[in-house]
Amino acid sequence: MHIAWGSLGVVFVVSFGAAVAVVVLVTVALVGLSSRVQPSSPDARPAAFSSSTGTALAAICLAAAAAIVLYGLWVIVSA
């Protein structure tokens, strides 16, 4: 019996890369957006970024994540 280990490997690497990239980008964007709100309690950790840096970072990360999602959508539609 022939098992296409090569194409399984490609599927694994590509889906691993895409999923981790989207999740990391969205999470970083949310950390960036967190800098826009006041800490909920005085002893909460200070925001990781200044408000404007955080917002800019969030915008870039969300745009990148959206691009990956749109590519996924294109893959679905063009199939």
Partner: protein, 373 residues
């Protein structure tokens, strides 16, 4: 149209319907569990996306059995028997709240029916291993590892953010990731039923040999799967959203993103994995990515058993149904009546402990089963 052709079309649409409500959980279970979407909104959204998906894709399945049986031996009676086996197995696993692959149920039914109609030599057992058993084992492992890594990174990075923003952000993101899974599902699964009906119409000469599906076939298949999806297989949604692990919104997002990525790459880069097994594996991975002990591995064992039993069980029912139906019109009617009676019985049993949009998230906080038990 003869009785058997009508019977095939009706049972194919019924299979499509069970396929829909069996698989709502794949896309929506974690969104419902984390509160990203209200239960009824989630299932209707999934239904609409499945309907859109049915019209989007033009690549209709050219083979019914994916080469698991000798396609030349497939007759309308075989297809009818196979569909009956698949429907009844889908209903039984729904009653038990088990996510099982609708494709594997269909393959099982067709294998059993072909065995009765044409003998064991018409079945390609090597293909069964490479196209059913292997994806069944590999899909949850691949998706589980991807989701585990994604969840791990999400939690590592998210500790630097503000909790309210993080939770709200992941819930919003989950709506996108769940929609991607639902859309991908619609483009794949509605196609299978369209393929079954189209090929049946071709075998009896109602369509030319290289015909695509007529519009009424596309529309009815899309509607059947969308209707099934938007009814919501609440029992399976509950199992996947609440009984595997206590899923939080970062995990839900990581699981759905991983499912979407694995489904899309496997469909387009040539190594077919099973959707249900991918989505289930992703939820296990996301559960383990936060806290290994937070996953109820006993549930995994029961699911693995249901997955292994899917093909042989559907095959036995499919074989019986094809055997009776091969007696002619009367046999076909007998099979249909018995199948409807069994389906009604399963439905009545399900009413004893109903699971619906209101109580889908009410699972008692059971102590997680220890690893290895």
């Amino acid at each position: 149209m003869t009785v058997i052709v009508i019977a095939v079309i009706v049972t194919a649409l019924m299979f499509d319907f069970t396929n829909g409500f069996h698989d709502t959980a794949n896309a929506m279970a974690t969104s419902i569990a984390t509160g990203a979407l209200r239960p009824k909104v989630a299932v209707v959204l999934a239904g609409v996306l499945n309907l859109i998906g049915a019209f989007l894709s033009v690549a209709v399945a050219k083979t019914i059995s994916s080469g698991l049986v000798d396609e030349a031996k497939i007759t309308p009676v075989v297809i009818f028997g196979g569909l009956v086996g698949a429907i009844l197995w889908n209903l039984l696993t729904w009653l038990l709240g088990m996510p099982s692959s609708s494709s594997h149920a269909l393959f099982g039914g067709l294998i059993g029916a072909t065995w009765v109609a044409a003998g064991a030599s018409a079945i390609k057992f090597a293909s069964v291993v490479s196209k059913v058993l292997l994806p069944l084992v590999l899909s949850p492992i691949v998706a589980g590892i991807v989701a585990l890594a994604a969840t791990y990174f999400a939690y590592r990075i998210a500790t630097r953010g503000e909790e309210g923003t993080i939770t709200k952000g992941f819930r919003l993101s989950q709506i996108v990731s769940a929609s991607m899974v639902a859309l991908a599902h619609g483009t794949n699964d509605a196609q299978k039923t369209m393929g079954v009906i189209t090929l049946t119409l071709i075998t009896v000469g109602l369509l030319p040999a290289d015909a695509g599906p007529p519009l009424w076939v596309i529309a009815t298949c899309g509607l059947a799967i969308a209707l099934g999806t938007s009814l919501g297989g609440w029992r399976i949604i509950q199992t996947m959203g609440k009984r595997i692990s206590e899923i939080q919104s970062p995990q839900g997002f990581a699981a759905e993103t991983s499912s979407a990525a694995v489904i899309l790459t496997s469909a387009h880069l040539g190594f077919a994995l099973s959707t249900t097994q991918v989505c289930t594996g992703a939820i296990f991975g996301a559960g383990a990515g936060r806290k290994l002990a937070g996953v109820r591995w006993g549930v995994a064992g029961r699911m693995a058993l249901a997955w292994l039993l899917t093909l042989p069980s559907a095959a036995i029912v499919g074989a019986l149904a094809a055997w009776v139906a091969s007696a002619g019109t009367l046999g076909t009617i007998v099979v249909a009546v018995v199948a409807v009676a069994i389906a009604a019985g399963i439905y009545i049993l399900s009413r004893r402990q109903p699971v619906n949009a209101e109580n889908v998230n009410d699972v008692p906080e059971a102590a997680p089963v220890a690893v290895g038990v």
